[in-house]
Symmetry: C2
Subunit: 223 residues, 2 copies
């Protein structure tokens, strides 16, 4: 017998069109510390834990992992991102997809590697009903690509993560889904290519939430 | 007998770390006209002719192709990009790669879908020797993915484009290379994935100019 579907959504690049602002906010934060790094390398790390992102970028550039510097870069990123928040909008179909799941009684949750400080303003754009679990980086020991965020989101929904489907735009979402033994659906709306998401484990790839909504019945989302 | 190698370089995302600023400058230009479009869709069109980019984006959003509006969006993009020029730097290894080719007497040129107005400030960062051909969108009838820019660059070098190698970061560079019967080398520094570039015809893919320089001898670049 097939189990009830449940969807665990990433936030940035999956429901909200905010990846490019995050990328340039990290660039600004790193420039502010005198750390020169190509922008595409930052883009390819977006979606993972901010602490891990800074660790890896510092290691790649041969710089010391000074905890104070990591903390300072994180604060600079948040400030630079929040300064850009006025430009940011939900992705096409994001609100409609979430509303369709709610209407059909299909459980869903949001799990983001971001902190509540940067996530709250964009969560407010999604008209999320009361009772939907929202798990941020503040609440787990390790963010993506560790599975903790998605495991916690499934627990809050009262579903087995191994019967849930993770929806995300980044390789880190797909890897975390695999580590949680969940299925992964990739969306192109964060700027990764189809093959990158498939190689990281996506069993289906759509353009954006609108594209996924059009195929919802194929994905266990019976309405 | 193997022919003398010649390299035809794209500019933005290939030699200069400017793709993400171009993306957000187009986003700002389109927002200014009330045209809402996901940012990743703009990213995936960067590198093609600006006029073609606007045409396709307008058609995708079902809006009319009003020549005045196209002209106005182009002007807004240039202004928004030039406002960001202070953040922009050459990519790692760009100056060293070009200097190595010059030192070895290997002919090279630059061919960009951008206009001289937006290209000039970043060309100035590359220390280009006198006599190197630089072909901009102003000088050809059709920009990429049409082959005109690379064909013209090869003509100015006095080489057969069919024995030249195009170096670019976007699918449009690789498609234009195929249409010119040149070889294509893809660089990841514009934010496309390896498989996207390979599927568009890249016979080799490197991270950035630094990665290409390290393998120059494999690419016909005997020093």
């Amino acid at each position: 017998m097939s189990e009830q579907a449940a969807f665990l959504f990433d936030l940035d690049g999956t429901l909200i069109d905010s990846v490019y602002q995050h990328v340039l906010a990290w660039k600004e934060a790193l420039d502010g510390e005198g750390i020169e790094l190509s922008i595409w390398r930052i883009h390819r790390r977006i979606g993972m834990s901010g602490g891990l992102l800074i660790n890896i970028l510092l290691r790649d550039t041969g710089l010391a992992l000074d905890p104070e510097r990591i903390e300072r870069i994180g604060r600079r990123h948040s400030a630079a991102y929040l300064r850009r928040i006025g430009e940011i909008r939900p992705l096409p179909g994001a609100r409609e997809l979430l509303a369709a799941l709610t209407d059909a009684g299909i459980p869903w949750a949001i799990a983001t590697s971001g902190r509540m400080e940067t996530a709250a303003p964009t969560l407010g754009m999604l008209a999320i009903p009361a009772g939907v679990p929202i798990v941020t980086r503040d609440e787990v020991r390790h963010a993506k690509p560790d599975p903790d965020l998605f495991v916690t989101a499934a627990e809050r929904l009262g579903v087995d993560v191994r019967s849930a489907t993770v929806v995300g735009d980044s390789v880190w979402d797909m890897l975390a889904a695999q580590r949680a033994r969940a299925l992964g659906i990739g969306l192109l709306s964060g700027g990764y290519g189809t093959e990158e998401l498939e190689r990281a484990g996506a069993y289906r790839v759509f353009d954006d939430p609108e594209g996924m909504l059009a195929q919802l019945e194929e994905l266990g989302g019976r309405r």
